[in-house]
Symmetry: C2
Subunit: 346 residues, 2 copies
């Protein structure tokens, strides 16, 4: 048996822990503020004095959130951590450490899991995070990954969903719809012309390797944004959560949606739906008063992350928040909320 | 359809979140030091000044860690949290908050999951913990539960595995082997005489509802224990981890093992194996210098948690830690390490 054929079952749980730990960059395995890392009953971390601790957890389940025939292992490792770091970014928090639970069948190749750890380790390193431990369990029916990520907030403040105020502008970072377009492309037959378009790989990468907006989250917090969340369920699913939490209504303008040219070109009839309901963009959706907008926009642009104003927060008329969209013809109509429900319920 | 028939699929992800949140005691849903709880992208918690943050994560997978025909839902909710709190106790940490990921098929009854939350909520309340959020994902092939628990350490100290020193006594809290005996009883046929013994339910409860030793962990930390861990893989699996981490060897005496009379009576030929390799006791295994022993024992006994000295830490002769056991006849022989490996590897 060569090293390339080695499976989890061949080296066992404890052998695997050693191999995976070795696949991480040294500064991701340990840090000066993490006193106890991988290997004890728990990790011990000392937050900076006066800082609050921010905690989030997110999971990826094989067949639901990813398919092994569509992703490479390194991208999968990246995404496991990215979806959690994105939640920290949406709070304006600085990422600090993560714990990971691997649910494995046992027949996985060790080298594939090492690639997974390289992808995770690379994002952790770039995000100044420590992988402080975790758990390996048997998951006979498919891979599951569970991450809990911890961060700390600057200046004892956080960006919440509940702070949007009438008159605020509604902004999004980057572009929306690319991840959903990438997912559509992955599902196409190999000989479909769109699959081989020059821009296809870019959209697929947006789906497989979303880049969490940590630096932009800090800009939003420091420059006076009133609320923020990350776009995981699509604009039509997520914006209503801010509206409800803040007790306000809103309008957005379809003509201002930042949708990449590649998405419009490859999906001329569907790009609106992809942008509004596609999900998994992991861009930040936020609100900010007009007086704060210019500072946010210029600082965001300076770090390479454009922001676009797409609408406005309104006073709520009744007891329910409403959301309207101005369409391409300038007509205003209600936008039906469209949060993705994993169980297809009411 | 009545409320008793309602499934997850009927009310959807967001309806379920509301129902489960309502099943928790109010002081488990919110706390003065948790500024953002269930419902935002992340939870925000302010540890007490000067305290370190302790983080642990542990999972239960259907068919691997539990069977629905062997447990009631309330006990299952208790155990999900208990196995994590036990890790905090082993560090001498005070439990503070937890986040929970539910992996659900969708056909679960809402009232069963409410019972699960009642069991979890009751232990959280007794442990002064907040359930600060989490995630619900679809898990088509069986239930999975993932908890990350956070605590804080008193006096900036923690109990680690690496502090055992030559001459220290080796102690365990409570009794060992009862959980494994309970698991054996659950697997018996209904008409097996042992299954209907008066003491059977007690042993089964030890398996289904282990009580984490939080107060004892604090006593160990404050009264000078040098190392500790919780017994999840059995004495023969876990003690070698302390020995290796501390660079020491040890002997234990089989005649001193605290094994409940019920375990000895129902399993006259197997009680040694159950005590040494049974696992899931969630008692604390620790080391302490002889001069600290009396204070630990009397304070432990005062809070209703007995401790028993079962052996002694020795200087390590070579480069590998060794563990010997003195048997019923007073003969000393090597005890083979027996950590349970989920993948049956080397």
């Amino acid at each position: 048996m060569t090293d390339a054929d080695l499976t989890v079952r061949d080296i066992g749980e404890f052998g695997l822990i050693d191999r995976l730990s070795a696949a991480l960059p040294p500064d991701v395995r340990t840090a000066s503020d993490v006193h106890v890392g991988i290997g004890d009953d728990a990790a011990v971390w000392r937050p900076d004095a006066g800082e609050d601790v921010v905690i989030t957890t997110d999971s990826l389940v094989e067949g639901i959130h990813f398919r092994l025939d569509w992703t490479d292992w390194e991208s999968l490792g990246h995404k496991i951590l990215a979806v959690n770091v994105s939640d920290l970014a949406a709070m304006g928090a600085a990422p600090k450490l993560a714990v990971l639970t691997l649910g494995l069948r046992g027949d996985e190749l060790v080298r594939d899991l090492e690639a997974l750890y390289r992808g995770l380790g690379d994002l952790a390193r770039r995000s100044s995070m420590t992988l402080a431990g975790g758990d390996i369990v048997r998951s006979p029916h498919g891979l599951t990954f569970h991450v809990t990520a911890l961060g700390q907030t600057r200046q004892q403040r956080t960006l919440m969903r509940s702070g949007a105020y009438s008159g605020d502008l509604i902004g999004v970072t980057g572009t929306i719809g690319a991840s959903a377009a990438g997912l559509r492309l992955l599902a196409l037959e190999d000989d479909d012309a769109r699959r081989t378009a020059a821009t296809a790989d870019l959209l697929i990468a947006a789906h497989l390797r979303p880049e969490p907006r940590v630096a932009l989250g800090e800009v939003l917090l420091e420059r006076g944004a009133t609320s923020a969340m990350d776009l995981s369920d699509g604009l039509a699913g997520d914006l209503p959560k801010i509206l409800t939490a803040s007790g306000v209504s809103a309008w957005i303008d379809e003509r201002r949606l930042p949708v990449a040219a590649a998405v419009r070109a490859l999906f001329p009839n569907e790009w609106r739906e992809l942008a509004l309901r596609g999900g998994e963009d992991y861009e930040l959706l936020f609100t900010a008063p007009p007086r704060a907008w210019d500072a946010i926009a210029s600082e965001a642009s300076a770090i390479g992350g454009p922001v676009t104003a797409i609408g406005e927060i309104l006073l709520r008329a009744g007891t329910a928040s409403t959301l309207e969209i101005i369409d391409a013809q300038g007509a205003r109509r209600p936008l039906l909320p469209g949060a993705f429900d994993h169980f297809g319920g009411a």
